[in-house]
Structure formats: C-alpha cells, structure tokens
Symmetry: C2
Subunit: 787 residues, 2 copies
C-alpha cells in the first residue's frame, strides 16, 4: 500500500506513470480501498470482483468501519451532483456557442446578400468552411476519439469493452469544441449524440480526478478507481447528456436504461434520476442568465424544446391509418439510412481514412462545400410563395424580416408579400428548421415540391456526412428527415379530410418519431424524449404506435443504428440474449484451448513471464496440493495482477515454500495499483525488466487470487453460461468437471436474513466481522481450510 | 405426453383436477412444450430451468422447428394486446360504475337534504353502508385474496413467491366489484392499487386460458404454463393496471420496472410498453363512447387527469426552500403513515381478523359509518365563506349548484353568495376533491383551518381504513393528504411573497408528490405518473426535487409502504441487495442441513416416498457411480417431478438397472404436467396412494433431472451466492466442494458468436441441432458422457 515501499520501477507503463505522480503514503491514502467495502455491499457482481475477493483486499477491508461506507455513499451522490452540473454547463456552453456562431454567420450572409447574392454565397461558404475546418482540425490533430457520435463506443464501454482514448480529457475538449464547429458550420448532423459522449467523458474525467496529463488533477476526487464505479459514473453521465441535449430528464434516465447500459441495478436508477434532475435545474438556471439578449444570438430557442402544445389535441380513428403508414415509412427509410451509412462507413474505414488526416480534412471541407451550396442554392431556385391571407391567419407575420428566424422567411423574394418555403427549412439552423416544420396552425406553408426536394437532399447529405472526422449526432438530422415526410403525409391528410382539427405539425412530429424509431430502434426512451421535447403529453399514445410500427418494420431489415456502428467498429459486444445456436453447445465447447494454462501456488518468476509472453489470457487458475497430495484449485489470478507483482518485485522470494501470508501483504499494495486506468491499454509484459537472478525467484500467488471464481460444470448449456456471464457482468468463468459430491442445496428460504440469523446467530455474525475476510486463520494451515 | 397413457389417478390434488379436465391427446397438444423453445432462447435463466433442462424436455424439443418459435412470439404479442384491452376495459368499467354510484348517492343526498339535513345524513350513511357492505361481503365470502391493495402480493409473486389465490379468476371478479363498492362507498381509499392487481389477474387468467373452475376456459389460450412466461404476462398486467388507473402509459412501464419486477429483461420492456400503449388507446376510445352524457354521471372527470397545465409555469429560486420543506414534511408524514399502518395491520392480523368474517364485516361497516359522519358532519360545523369577488375572478362560478361537483360548493350555506370550503373537499368523490385541491387561480379558496381539519381527519381515516377487508389502494388517499398540506404550504408562500405567479395548486401537486414519495419511496415512476396525471411537464424538475428529499427523509425511518406490507405478510421476498452481514458468511453456512438428502440414479419408490414425507426440500441431487466406482452428481430433481412420477406410476420398474432412456419418455408426459398451476398449493405427497407392491419397485430418475444445476464452491462468499441467486432468479443452487481441476476458463471473447462459429463450425452447429439436446448418445453409456 505504501508507494515508497516499492522499488524503483523501470518499465514506466502508463499505469506507473500515474502512480509515480502520487504523493507518498498517508493515512487518507487508504480511502480508495475502503470504498470497495460499500462496493461489495451493493449487491452485484462486479467486473472487478477478482480485486475484491483477494486476500490482500480482504485483510485491508477488515480494518475499515461503517464510517467509510457512509463517506463512500456521500461521495457517490456528490459525483452525481457534479456530473449533472458539469454536463448542464457543457450543454449550455455548446448551445450558446453554436447559436452565436450561426447567428453571426447568417447575419453576415444576409448583410452581404443585400448587395450581391453571389458574394452572399461566398461569405456563407467561407463561414461554414471555417467553422467546419476548426472542428475537423481539432478532431484529427488533437482528439481522434472525438469523431463521430460516441454513443456506440460508450455503449461498448458499459458492456465491458474499453475503446482506447474514448473517455479522456482531451476527447472531452475535442468533442465540445468540435461539436460547436460542425454544428455551427451547418453540416447535416446534430449535437445531441456528442453531448451524450460529453456527459460520459465528464463523468469519467471527474471520477479520475481530472486529467493527469494536463496537470488538472484533484486528489480528493480520485476515489473511484474500480471498473464498476466508473461504469456507474459513466451511466450517470450518459443520462445527463441526454437530459441536457433534449432538456428531457426522464428521457435521459430511460435512454441510459434502454440503450446504453448492459448491467443495470435498481440502486443506480435512483442516482441517475438525481443526475438528470440536476441537469434540468442547471440548464434552466443558466438559461435564466441569458434573458433579455445578454447572450447574443442565444435565446431560449437554442435549447430544443419544440413546443407544440398548441397542436392537434384530438384525432379521429381513421387518422390512425396515415399514422401507421408514417410508422411503416419510418421503418423503411430508417433501415435504408442504416444500410447506407454502413456501406459508406465501411468504405471510409477501409479505404478513405487510411490515407491520413489530410484526406479526412479535405473530405469534410468538401462535404461542407456541398452542404453550403445546396442549402443556399436550392432555395434560390425555388419560386416564392405568396403569404397567407392575413384575414384568415391574423397571428402570422409574413414575410419575416430576413435577419430573423421563424416561419415565412423572405429569402431572395422580390415581392414584399412573398416568402420562400424551402429557405425556411433549408437555409436555417436545424433547430429552427425543425421548429418551423413542427409549427402548428400553418397549413400549406410548404409546397409538396419543396418538402420532397428537401427530403431527398437532406437525406443524402446526412448519409454523406455521417462518418466524417467530426463529432456528429444523428438525432437532429433524423428528426429533420422524419419531420419532412411527416409533414408531407400531413398535407395529404389535411387535403383529404378537410377537417380543421388535423394539423400538419402533429404529423411532422409523428414522422420524426417514426424515422428515429426506424433508425435507432429505441422505444420507451425515444417516446419519452419526443414527448418531453415537444411538451405535449397528449400525443403519447400516437407516438407509441408509430414507434412500435417503425421499429418492427426496421427490424425486418437490419439492426439498430448504434448496433450496426458497434459491429462496424468490431467492438466485441455481448448482446443481451445468447444466439440461438448456443443451445447446441456446452460450456466445454467454448473453452479457448484444450489445455488450460494454470499456475502452482508458488510459481517461478521465469515461468510466469514465459506464460504471460506466450498467451494473451487474462485469467489463470492457481492450483495447489492438499496434504493428501490431491490437487485443488485455490483460485483465479488475473494477468494484470501478475504484471503488477512482476513490476513491483516486492513479493519475490528465494524459496518455493508458501509464505506466511498475514501481516505483510496488506500494507504493501494500494488496491488501486491493480486497476487499469480508464481508456488506456494498461501494463504490458514487454515493458517489465526482470534480471536473470530475479527470474530464478518465486512468488507465492495465494494472497492475490480470487479464491472463489464462478464455476460451471463442463457440460452446462452454453446458453446458461452466457446468461450467467452477461447478467453478472463477469470477466472469467472457470469450467470444471462435473462434481462428485453435493455438499448441500441452497434455496430461497436459506437466503432469507431471518433464517440466516437464526442459523448462525446474529450476535456472532456481527461480532465475527473479520471472519469471512480472514478465512485462513493464522493457526491453521491454509489448505485444510479449503476442503 | 399423452394424457391417456396415464393410469387412473387416485390422489386428485388440485393439479390433477385440472389435468383431468383436459381434452385427450392431439397434435396441437404439444404446443406448450414447443413454446419453451423460444423461452429458452430468450436469453435468461428461468425459475423453471429445471424443466427445460431435463432430458425429457430436450428430446421433445429436438422435434420442433423455428416455425413454432415464430408462433410463440406472435402469441406473446397477442397476449400483450389482450391484456391491454382487458385492463383498459376493466378500468373503464370500474370508473363508470364508481362515478355512477357516487353520482346517485350524492344526488339522493342532496335531494333529501333540501327537506332535512338529518335525513340527508341518514340517506348518505345508508348509501355508503350499502355500497361498502356489498364490497366487504363479496370479498369475505367469495374472494378473500381480493382484500387490500394487492401490490405487495404481486410484487412477491414476481419475486418468486406465489401467495395462494392471488391470481385467480374469482379474485379478479372480487377485486373489480369490491373496488366499486369500497370506492363508491366513500371510504378513504383508492381504486388505483386494486387496478394494478386487476391488470395482473387479467394477465394471469388470460395466460391460463380462463378459469377452469368456472368453465370459462379457452384451450387456444392455454399456452403459457411455465413460471417465467406467466411472470412476464403478470408484469405486463401490472404496467397495464397503472397505465389504466392513472392514464399514464409511461408511468406504467416505469412502475413495473421500478417497483414490482425482480428480474427485468430489456426484451420485456418493449412488450410492456406495447401493452401500456394499448391501454391508453382503449381507455381513450372507451371515453369517446361516453361523450354527451351517454354514461350517466360518468364524464371525462372520472378518469383521473388533474390537468394543471394552466398552473404556475415559472418559479423563483427562493421557492425551492418551501418546496424542499414540502419534501421533508412528506418524508416525515409518509414514514408516520407507514408506521401507523404497520401497527394497525399487525393488530388486525393477530387479533381482529382471526375472529372470522362477521367481525371483518362489522369492522368495515363501522369504518364506513365513521367516514360518512365525519365527511357529512364536519362540513356542517364549518362556517361558510363568502364567494370571491366576481370582478376579480370573472371565471369563477360561486356557489356551484349543489348537484354539481367543482370548486365553491354551496353545502348547507344559507346565504346565496357563500360556499363551504370543507365540503368542497370532504363531501365529494376523491377524484373531484383532488381536482379542487389542485385547482389553479383559486387563491384563498380554502381556509387554513379547513385544510388542517381535513388533513388530520383524512389522515386518520386513511390509516384506519387500510387493512380492512375491502380492496383498497393508497395512491389517491396519499395524493389527498399530500395535496392538503401542500396547499397549506402554498397559502403560506402566497401570503409571504405576494407574487402573482405563485399558485397554491402547484404546491398542492408538489405536496401530493412528496407524500407519495415519503410513503411509497418510488422515484422515477412516481415522478412520471405525477407528470402524466397533471399533464404538466414544466413541473418535472420540481417534482423530482421533492421526491428525492421525501424519499431520503422517509428512508431514515422505515422501509417503503409496500415493502413493509410484504414483511407484515411474512412473504419471503429476496431483496435486491444482500444484507451486510452476508459478507461474513460463506455458501456452506447457508445450507439447510449438514447432511444433504440425495437420491441414487435408480431409487426405490419406498425410499423416495420416505424422503418426501420426512423433509420439505424441493430439490434433491441425484448421484450415480462411474465405471470406476467414483460417485458423480448427475443432476438435480425437483420434488414436484418426483410427485408427478409417483402419481403417474408409468415409470415404475421392477429392477434397479438404469433403463434405456430414449424413445420412451418423450411421449409419456406433457411438460405441462410438471408445472404447478398458478396460485395453488400443488400436489402433496399425502395425496398420493401407492400400494405396497409399488413401494418395492424402482424409478430411473435420470431422464427427469436437470443435469446441470448452477453450482458454487462451498467457501464462496454468501454475498456472491445471493447475487447469483437473485439475478438469475434461481430456485436451487448446489453447493459443491472446491474443484480439484479447472478444465478451462471462459472469457468474453470466447462467447462472441463469431469466435464460437469459427471454433465449432457454423454449418456443423446448424446441422447438429439435436446434439445438445441429446447429449447421451444411444450407442454410448450415459456416464462416460459425463466425465
């Protein structure tokens, strides 16, 4: 545990770099380990149970009290609060920046356009190009992991796969700045996915106490150095990201629950919920600061709430047919979108992006150029429409002055009483465009032709843009696409029914839901998000219906967008249900090699090094012999532990006899030493220098093993094994021969606290706190304890 | 599998009663078992895995194809649809009945009151008494399981504890009719909890194809005869119940997720969501039928949506203080409520209700009398208030004509321009009272004194009423209590701030949330339900804040309401996290007896009978000897299987040699025979008659064992065992000695489909469908296969 006890370290892998920065040993230095006490208590198997179960850990634990558990719980809630505040502020910053950059861009364009349309186009292209260049430059040069949505990687992280770099401080910065550039630069992508990634990064960076690399490191924050607590924090961060992106706190909780987490505990629900609530309050408060134009172009419209509470509050039964049709269209278009992005992303990964950063930058700039030309040029080629009759629609201001955003934009229209419907949606920020598409009581604002043009063009742009080297979300483009064909269907229904209550805006909303459902295949969370962003609960059943249909239709073609992206990145995600063919396999069919690589209790250093070099296994059974000579498995040791032991060298011994394990170990290591830092590759055997003399020494592995790894008999169905693995979030399962004896059967009744207390004596239990932690009594040989 | 193959059954336990009613064997008769194929495939360990793993089952499975899987999936969705429709209609029926009975009651009372107040009181008491008597009579005589809320029992059922009678058809009928009587009769209880129970019953009854007892049985519905599918259906039913009760589909999903289920799968989310959506549409459609007064006193007000969308949409920072105070009050009062109900319920269980149905009926009638007198008498003793200035509040109709429900009721006020504020909330249906408490823009409608009187009286009535022998929910009374003190705090804030935007109705809503949070300790679901019933998303962060505080305060005193009730009923619920002291225990400390009761592969009938009579274990290891003479555990057999085998007698054999297991078994039993019908006690060993000759015969148990039960080494931490048990939803875990050998280690990588396919050959896998199902090759002795 005492850093100063460690001999000079030669290798200097990333982990040790971090350790070297640590202050010398002090009483509070133990706090990391204490925290695991609560961690163990929380009622779920962890990815890191190996850490928690080892004797070294247990001994350490025996000295801690309930006070540390309380401080640990307090800390977790403090972190939830900090994540909420941080994510809320980050979202606020991104929104303010995007709105202002866009505002300046449009203001400059409109100003120049008064003199010359061509110069206006040039200014527009230049502004967009500059913003997009800043984004792609930051991403390619500084934070490559910030490219794309980030949600697939976070999903993989929470499933147990740590993509290098994904949760670093630099990724956080790259994501925030990159999002501002790419969204402000008018590309067909959104800032919502990146905000989820941002939330996750904030959570991870906070959990690590800042960034070591950039010297922004707070020791008091560095408490959660185990995988499971990090995962919990990242889950909170994801929920916070969604809550901040859509101002949808409940949607955030459900998104974390439905889409990203793999192991969910009801205890976590409560904390995630708190984080989301904090985000909602922070965003609201921050927006309060910006009243009265204090924040430039940023107004309340910057944060998406596309209020359609004034929309259609009643629907006829026959309207369910066009709505179901919307669902089907959404499913088809969503699946098509997924398929096209798969193809283009595959090509990018395999061909284009292999050619270096320069190509990536040029690619993005080209996409920006195309986007700018289309969004400027297409409205120019559209004929203007006369404004609606002021007598009939007294609330409508038409045309709007060109410096303003809203419906009925006068863009390039010579006549005073005309507006350009394509410019209203195309030559605008996406948030405003969606607001215009969702707008109620504006029948026939858009022509079918304009909507069709926009649909085709924007769909193509969205496909083209996704996968370029900028942070990009798919929510807002998806809503744009869906809202466009939704409005198209709405126009048809309005014309067919001639009923006043039917509203095009409502159909636009349902269209948006259907496209997201057809592409992302989320249900509950998406539904809640749609309700929260439109602030209209009445449409809930309709949104549910549309989502159900679009997901069902989409599922007939391919997987959800994020799953496909995960596959594309070859991230080894364990899906929630085992494959059908696993039923035909048994546990032994899944074992890596026929011959298992294992260690004796006291192993030679050279042998350990040889094994670590020759295999890439991460867990090794450790065997010993009973007094009778029979072999017995005393546990499982992790590769990472062995590497730490080899690096530290403190446990090397000259003889091959088991050491006296008590009293020495617990002060020699900090449990944190055994944990791999997040988003890095960890220590490698090739980074450790061991002298020939040391190679001849021995290590007693017993204190470092997890004495009771999960075991399954070799002929258990692989489906069962898979479920065990997946539900408990395991890293290793030991496959053992069919047992020759059953000591007993545990049933539900046996696990009831009352029964256990009666059987074992409550007082005894409470007084024997150390008993389980110290199963190997000093006066008793170790192995008698085992059998 | 062929019912006709079974010899005459003597015992006639409840299970066989059901089987005897079954039609003779037919090809479609197999369908039950096929369904388990999908069931197995769905990726989670079931409570019934023992069924699924036995050789008999596997052989049966080997003959099924993918088509059956598809029909199984279709069926599941059909059931979700049916549950949604059924629950929606049941809720509609209950609401219509309650509103009409209440309407007639109030109409009669008001009519008589015009002549004499005393006669009015008599009529009121008589009406209430009659309604309540109908409820308590139905419950005590016909459906005792319908008493109370039902949520604790459903929670226990989904945790794995089946309370007798809780999900029967008669309970469903008793619950529906009983709710109408008790709610219509004006008791201080709600219909929402019972609706959750109703939804669960509908799901269970549908899943069993109706009720055998009442000859309302549809064979085509009888597909889900295994515990897990039933549990899934019941989960859908719960969500449907909440969705119908509060018209809160998302809240329903979250309620099922947060409060009732113990094992949750993301696949289920999707189906539960669908059920809730169906309920929302059914309820809405049904309410459409009742427009224009077609349904008597029932109007849209019958279904609770207390719309406060016109309420306070802005709040100052300083208002967070009184709101936090509301949270604290809610926590305190909620905990007090829980504690008082525990005491009174304990007394009722141990003393009062032991004295028979007559006492229960008298008790309920007494409570009804007290309630009637208080709700009639207290408003009479209150002085009337003058109506608000019509110039200042032009929208207000004051006083309301006495036949109508709304604010400013003129009850007993002689002056034309006066109203009775206590009567507005006390002498009214609870739904209307809450609507009046939540009402916005009605400042100072209530005097502090009236609210305080009502708070104390209603709180006492609610405590007194809960636990009587009528169906009773705690949601609406909780909302009433909370809204009252919320409105009190609101009055204080309004008077202190003198700001126009502060609205008493908003505080009433927050108060309601705080009391429910303090009593039930739900967070996310309650929050969503509150938002959905008030149709106001803007208050979401405030509700979140209040709930967080009230739950935290309440948790300092006792457990949530439902948990306490579960404890009180001594239902052995496994909580989601293990107790702290379990860390000090190992698996072997939890084993029931030191000596494990086990069977040989071929056991004597007399021995089996003796063991079943002498222990109450439900699972027994089965051992055999290898050719070398070494013992080996071949699996675990369930008591219920042994009982079925003893009852059927078809597998009795005269010699003690292992039989040829293939080809015979699979057609002798229907897998359904092995499943206990829901809500019954199942077969007992004392109901089976076995002749002395039969006692000397043998049974080969091998085809009926679960060959690979989950195993844990005896010194594994009990915390780990608990988590394994709880997360996988197990019934039995076999504790085995520490293994002497590890065959291999399975890691994440080994479980990836690609890796498995490569290792085992995809074609081979697909063609070897029967391989796993038939591990014991005909040409190979069984036990060689095992080691």
């Amino acid at each position: 545990m005492q850093g100063k006890d460690m001999p000079g370290v030669n290798g200097g892998g990333p982990m040790w770099k971090q350790l070297n920065n640590e202050p010398p040993d002090s009483p509070t230095h133990y706090s990391d380990d204490e925290l695991m006490l609560g961690y163990r208590d929380r009622g779920m198997e962890s990815l890191d149970y190996e850490v928690v179960e080892s004797v070294a850990y247990r001994e350490d634990q025996a000295q801690r009290g309930i006070w540390h558990h309380a401080s640990y719980v307090t800390l977790k809630w403090t972190f939830a609060l900090l994540i909420g505040i941080g994510t809320g502020l980050a979202a606020f910053f991104i929104n303010i920046a995007v709105e202002n950059f866009s505002g300046w861009k449009f203001a400059a364009t409109f100003a120049v356009m008064k003199h010359s349309y061509f110069l206006g186009l040039v200014v527009y292209i230049a502004c967009n190009g500059a913003l997009v260049f800043s984004s792609v430059y930051i991403v390619t040069q500084f934070a490559p992991a910030a490219a794309g949505s980030g949600i697939p990687e976070i999903k993989a992280y929470l499933n147990g796969v740590d993509t290098p770099g994904i949760l670093l401080f630099r990724t956080l910065i790259g994501k925030i700045l990159g999002s501002i550039g790419s969204v402000g630069g008018g590309l067909a992508l959104g800032k919502e996915g990146p905000l989820v990634h941002t939330g996750a990064c904030i959570a991870s960076v906070l959990g690590q106490g800042g960034s070591t690399k950039y010297n922004a490191n707070w020791r008091w924050l560095r408490r959660f150095k185990n995988d499971r607590d990090r995962r919990d924090l990242v889950t909170c961060g994801c929920a916070a990201g969604v809550a901040a992106a859509f101002r949808s706190p409940v949607g955030g909780v459900l998104f974390a629950l439905e889409e990203v987490t793999s192991w969910w505990r009801s205890q976590l629900l409560w904390r995630v919920f708190f984080t989301s609530a904090v985000v909602a309050i922070v965003v609201r408060t921050a927006m309060g600061w910006c009243k009265n134009g204090k924040c430039g172009h940023f107004s309340s419209g910057g944060f998406i709430i596309w209020d359609i509470s004034g929309g259609q509050d009643d629907y006829s039964f026959y309207e369910l047919l066009p709505m179901a049709m919307l669902g089907a269209i959404g499913g088809l278009l969503g699946a098509l979108f997924n398929q096209l992005t798969i193809w283009i992303s595959t090509w990018r990964r395999n061909v284009l992006h292999r050619q270096g950063n320069r190509v990536m930058i040029i690619e993005v700039l080209l996409v920006s150029l195309i986007t700018s030309i289309l969004s400027f040029g297409l409205p120019m080629m559209t004929t203007c429409k006369p404004c609606p009759d002021p007598a009939k629609y007294p609330d409508v201001t038409c045309p709007l002055p060109s410096s303003n955003y809203g419906n009925y934009v006068n863009f390039f229209c010579s006549n005073e009483n005309e507006y350009n419907d394509l410019a209203t949606i195309f030559f605008n920020t996406q948030d405003d465009a969606i607001r215009n598409l969702f707008s109620t009581n504006t029948p026939n604002e858009y022509t079918t032709r304009s909507l069709l043009t926009f649909l085709v063009m924007f769909f193509s742009l969205a496909v083209l843009t996704f996968g370029t080297a900028v942070p990009s979300g798919q929510f807002v483009p998806g809503i744009m696409i869906g809202a466009t064909y939704g409005r198209l269907v709405g126009i048809l229904v309005v014309n067919a029914s001639r009923k006043n209550s039917v509203d095009e805006g409502t159909y636009a909303l349902l269209g948006a839901a259907s496209f997201l459902g057809g592409s992302m295949r989320m249900t509950v969370s998406l539904c809640v998000i749609m309700v929260e962003i439109t602030n209209n609960l009445q449409l809930l059943p309709l949104i549910m219906l549309v989502l159900l249909i679009s997901k069902a239709v989409g599922d007939a073609f391919n997987n959800g967008f994020y799953e496909e992206q995960v596959k594309l990145r070859s991230l080894p995600l364990l899906e929630s249900r085992p494959q059908r063919f696993m039923r035909t396999l048994a546990a032994k069919d899944a074992i890596s090699t026929r011959k298992v690589v294992q260690f004796s209790r006291v192993s030679k250093v050279s042998q350990i090094v040889a094994v670590l070099r020759s295999t890439d296994h991460n867990g090794f059974p450790v065997v010993d012999n009973l007094d009778t000579g029979e072999p017995v498995v005393i546990g499982l040791i992790l590769r990472s532990y062995l590497l730490v032991l080899l690096q530290a060298k403190t446990d090397f011994q000259h003889n091959s006899l088991p050491g006296d394990i008590r009293g020495q170990i617990s002060f020699r290591y900090n449990m944190r030493d055994f944990t791999k830092p997040v988003s890095s590759k960890g220590l490698s055997i090739y980074e450790i220098n061991i002298s020939p003399q040391e190679m001849d020494m021995y290590i007693d592995l017993q204190p470092f093993v997890n004495p009771t790894p999960y075991i399954v008999p070799e002929d258990m169905s692989l489906t069962k094994v898979y479920n065990l693995f997946r539900l408990l979030g395991l890293r290793h399962i030991c496959v053992v021969p069919r047992p020759s004896q059953v000591v007993g059967v545990i049933t539900r009744k046996d696990l009831l606290p009352e029964v256990l207390e009666e059987k074992n004596g409550l007082e005894e239990l409470m007084s024997s706190r150390g008993r389980y932690f110290l199963p190997h009594d000093r006066n008793q040989p170790l192995l008698e304890d085992l059998m």
